[in-house]
Amino acid sequence: MKLRFNRKQLCIPYAVFLVFFVLAPLFVILYYAFTDGQGKISFSNFANFFTNTNTLGTLLYSFSLAIVTTLVCLVIAYPTAYILARSNLKKKYVLLLLFILPMWINFTLRITALKEILSLLEGNISAYPFLNSVIGMTYDFMPFMILPLYTSLLKLDKSLLEAASDLGGNKLTVFLRVTLPLSVPGIISGMTMVLLPSMTNYVVLDMLYNSTYIMGSLIGSYFSAYDWNNGSMISLVLLVIIFIVTLVTNRFSDKDSNARGAVL
C-alpha cells in the first residue's frame, strides 16, 4: 500500500506548479479585469472595452484578419495534405517533413525572410498592409494546418472510398460525401491552430509594417503603458473566445470518436 502511495506523490510538484503558475495567473487576470487601479471593484474596463469604438474596431479587424488567414491556409493546406496522404509514394513521410519543417525555424527569422521578398516584389510593403499580414500569417501558421489535415486524411478508411465508388458515386460525390465529412475533425483542429494565433500574433503585423491593431497589439500597448487592468480585460475577452472555440472543437472531436466507433 505504501508503494502505490509513493508513485502518486510524484505528481505533487507538478500539481503545485500548475496551481501556482497556471491557475493563479488566470484568477489574477479575472481580478484585475474587474477592478480599477486602486483595487476597487469596477466595471469600467468592461464598459470601456464594449463601448470604445477603437477596441470594437480592433476586435472586428482581428476577426476579419484571422478568418481570412484561416480560410487561405485551409484552401492551400487541404489539397496539399490530401495529395500527400493519398499519394502512393514510399517516402511520403519525408515529403510531409519538407512541408512542416519551417515550424521549427524561429518565426521572427522566417518573417524577416518573407519581408525581404515582399519588399522586392512590392517595393513599398506598407502599401498593402492587410494583404501582407494575411501572407505573413499564412506563411507562419501553414504547417499547423497541414499537420492535422494530413493525420485525419491518412487514417481515413480506404475501403469506405472504394465502397462509395462501387455503389456508383463519381469522384466528386465520393469526395464531397465521404472524404470531406470524415476529415472534418482535422479541418476543425487545423482551423483552431491558425485562428487563435492570428488574432494575437501582432509581431507579424509589426514586422510587415501594418500599424493597425489586432487583439494582441492591445495587450502589448496596455503592457507598455503599465495599464494592467485594461490589459487584463483584453486577456479575459481572449480567454472567453478561446474557451468557446475549445468547446466547439471538443464537440466535433467527440463526434469523431463516435463516428469511428460506428465504423468499427
Binding site: L10, Y14, V19, V22, L26, F99, N106, L109, R110, L114
Partner: protein, 264 residues
C-alpha cells in the same frame, strides 16, 4: 496528367515556403545591404559578424541556454507529474489533465501577460532575477512534455514495475530502472518539443524578460524596427544557420528512428 497536376501543386507550395529562406541564404553570403540590392562580391562577413559582435553572440547564447535550462526543468517536472497523475485517483488525474490543457489551448500572449501580472506586478519579483522569464517558459513548455509522455505511460506494461518491487527493488530503483527507461522516447520527444517551443517564443519572453536580456525573437523584432544594416544582414546569416541546423536535426532524428525501428 493528374499526377503531374499534383506534383505542380506541391512544388508551388514548396516554392512559397522555401523561396524566402533560400533567397535570404544566398544573399547572406554577399555584401548586399538588401535582398535584390547591388552585389559586388561574395563574402562571409555576415557570418563573422555573427560571432564577433558581442551583443549578437550573447543573444544567441542566452536564447539557447534559456531553452535548454527551461526545457530540462519542464521535462523533470512534467515527467514526474505524468507518472504521478497516471497512478492517481480519477478525480486527481482529471484535474491535473484539465489544468495541463490550459496553457496548451491558451494564447501565448495571455499566458505571458498573466504570469507577468502575478509574478512581477503582484509579487514584485524583479525581472532581473530571471525567475519570471524562467517560470514563463516552463509554463509554456511543461504541458507539452506532459502530453508527449502520457501515451507512453498507457503503452507501458504495468506488471514490470510490480515485478521489480517483488524482486526486491525499492520504489526509487523501480522508478529509475524500470519505469523511466520505458518512457524515454516520450521524454526525449517532449524535451525536443520544449526546446523548439522555447526557442520560438516571443510573447512570454517580452512580458517577463529583464530589459537587458534578449532572445533571438525579441532581438529580431527590435532590430527590424531600427535600421542598423550590419545587424540586419548578420541576422540573414543567423536565419541561414538556424535553417541548416533544423535540417540537420530533422535528418539526424529520422536516421536514429529508422535505426531503432530496424533493431526491433
Amino acid at each position: 496528367m493528374k499526377k503531374a497536376a499534383h506534383i505542380c501543386w506541391l512544388t508551388l507550395i514548396l516554392l512559397f515556403i522555401y523561396i524566402p529562406i533560400l533567397v535570404l541564404a544566398v544573399f547572406s553570403f554577399t555584401d548586399a545591404s538588401m535582398v535584390g540590392g547591388a552585389v559586388s562580391g561574395i563574402t562571409f562577413d555576415n557570418y563573422i559578424e555573427l560571432f564577433r559582435n558581442e551583443e549578437l553572440r550573447g543573444m544567441i547564447f542566452g536564447t539557447v541556454a534559456l531553452a535548454l535550462v527551461c526545457s530540462a526543468i519542464s521535462t523533470v517536472l512534467a515527467t514526474l507529474g505524468a507518472i504521478g497523475a497516471y497512478y492517481s485517483k480519477r478525480t486527481a488525474k482529471t484535474l491535473i489533465n484539465a489544468a495541463n490543457q490550459i496553457p496548451v489551448v491558451n494564447a501565448d500572449i495571455v499566458t505571458g501577460f498573466s504570469v507577468c501580472i502575478l509574478l512581477i506586478v503582484i509579487m514584485r519579483i524583479s525581472k532581473d532575477t530571471f525567475i519570471p522569464l524562467g517560470a514563463g517558459h516552463v509554463v509554456l513548455t511543461a504541458p507539452f512534455v506532459y502530453l508527449s509522455i502520457l501515451p507512453k505511460l498507457k503503452q507501458m506494461d504495468n506488471s514490470l514495475y510490480e515485478a521489480a518491487l517483488d524482486l526486491g527493488a525499492t520504489p526509487v530503483q523501480a522508478l529509475f530502472k524500470v519505469v523511466i527507461p520505458q518512457l524515454i522516447p516520450g521524454i526525449a520527444s517532449g524535451f525536443m518539443l520544449a526546446v523548439t517551443l522555447s526557442l520560438d517564443d516571443y510573447f512570454i519572453t517580452t512580458y517577463t524578460k529583464p530589459s537587458t536580456f534578449d532572445t533571438i525573437s525579441t532581438y529580431v523584432v527590435n532590430a527590424t524596427r531600427g535600421s542598423q544594416t550590419e545587424v540586419k544582414t548578420a541576422l540573414w546569416a543567423l536565419s541561414t544557420l538556424v535553417f541548416l541546423i533544423v535540417i540537420a536535426v530533422v535528418i539526424g532524428m529520422n536516421v536514429l528512428a529508422a535505426k531503432r525501428g530496424k533493431k526491433k
